[in-house]
């Protein structure tokens, strides 16, 4: 697709956000953004790990083992948030038929699945010393597992439909149906009072943890955010190249020519 040079849009002084919705304009922008997000990932990650391993005190009840919270909680947040973002992009693609939104949803799915897996994995490592079991059939664990299945189903459905347009739309419907699960995960510790501990951080009340631990966790969460965005954009660029391989602008790219 050629770049749109609509004068009424390009005269505007503000950044024209709609222009970015075209794969050909977004591709170079994403290329410039990726190093920035990687740098932020490293910076937040180093600061967060420093605080969480060396500065944060030992927990009175859980001892050293509690430190896995600095990976577990950000991964769980991201697993839910990425699903919402993925469903939102898929929904946008379904409604406005924009190609980039569908590509974005496709790019986010593996990142989200990875975060969900990481959340379950670190949860198992944490559960073993605290509960004495790698896995219990607790409401939150089960609903997080369903989330992983939903990600895998989304990816499997998209991979098995050859027609891209249909794959995007069918995936979007599945993603939107699965959104029901996200609030269930989030509120599961409140609705079913089970083994998994309640939320340590919430928007409405003071966090139930020491200030310095909170800082470590927030820095790690920022690190995970930046990582997800960086990897998501890298995947997005690969998907753009794959799907737009037939266009002129892709053939003109220096990295494609060589």
């Amino acid at each position: 697709m050629n770049q749109v040079n609509n004068p009424s849009f390009s005269n505007s002084r503000l950044i024209n956000w709609f222009k970015l919705s075209s794969p050909s304009t977004f591709y170079p922008v994403a290329g410039k953004l990726i190093p920035v997000f990687w740098a932020l990932t490293v910076a937040f990650g180093l600061a967060g790990l420093w605080i969480s391993f060396f500065i944060a005190p030992v927990d009175a009840v859980q001892g050293q083992a509690y430190r896995i919270i600095f990976i577990h909680v950000p991964a769980s947040w991201m697993s839910m948030f990425i699903y919402l973002a993925m469903a939102a992009w898929a929904g946008l693609g379904l409604i406005f038929n924009t190609r980039l939104s569908a590509m974005m949803a496709q790019a986010l799915a593996p990142v989200g699945a990875w975060m969900t897996f990481l959340s379950l994995w670190t949860g198992a490592l944490w559960g073993k010393p605290m509960w004495g079991a790698w896995w219990v059939w607790d409401a939150r664990l089960t609903s997080e597992l369903i989330l992983l299945f939903l990600y895998l189903g989304f990816m499997a459905l998209q991979a098995s439909i050859d027609n891209r347009r249909r794959a995007d739309k069918a995936g979007a419907i599945l993603a939107l149906v699965g959104v029901v699960n996200v609030p269930i995960i989030y509120f599961s510790v409140k609705w079913w009072n089970t083994l998994h501990q309640g939320a340590s951080v919430s928007l409405t009340k003071a966090p139930a943890m020491a200030q310095i631990m909170l800082w470590g966790m927030l820095l790690m969460a920022l690190c995970f955010w930046m990582y997800s965005i960086a990897v998501g954009l890298m995947r997005l660029r690969a998907i753009i190249l794959e799907r737009e391989a037939h266009t002129d602008w892709v053939r003109q790219l220096s990295e494609v020519k060589s």
Partner: protein, 221 residues
Amino acid sequence: MRALLAIIQRDLLLVMRRKSEVLTALFFFVVVTSLFPLGIGADAALLRKIAPGVIWVAALLSTLLGLHRMFAADYQDGALEQLVLSPQPMVLLVTGKIIAHWIVCGLPLVLLAPLIGIQFDLDTGSLSVLMATLLLGTPVLSLLGSIGAALTLGVRGGSVLMSLLILPLYIPVLIFGAGAVYATSVGLDTSGYFSLLGALLILALAFVPWVSVAAVKIAIE
């Protein structure tokens, strides 16, 4: 309304012309549930304990077996396209197909369940709760399944993919359905489970037909 009845009648007629497919799914339900006592051993106390879960899981799987018939044959011979083009609201037609699927694949399970329950040495109270939960739960299975059936129309490896997509969505029904039967057998209150199953049914009835219509239209365009 007449369109709804007509499509139910049509689907049932088609099933009657080829009974073997339906009977296979039912036979599957009976065989799978009978395999468990053979594999685990005839310890009556253990069987009573696992009965709700086993019967519910078998019901889930045998519902899945019949799902691909919901749209696939009509998709192949072009009848589904005609249904989309017809002046009747598509939601009604899809709802009719879902109801027909439930009558063929869900209702027999409800009626068969007490027989299987007796094999597992369930008492009368548990049997009636089992039937009631299946009566509330199997329509939800048919409804949710229609989404998967429509999304995987004409896709290679469609039926395996469909189970991957649909089984995670079935988990809540399984938990509350089997949970109610288990609660009865240990003498706990079951009203909460029934409320949740009822809520699932109402929500599914309210939203799923529209989602399935969207999925069918995507498959056809």
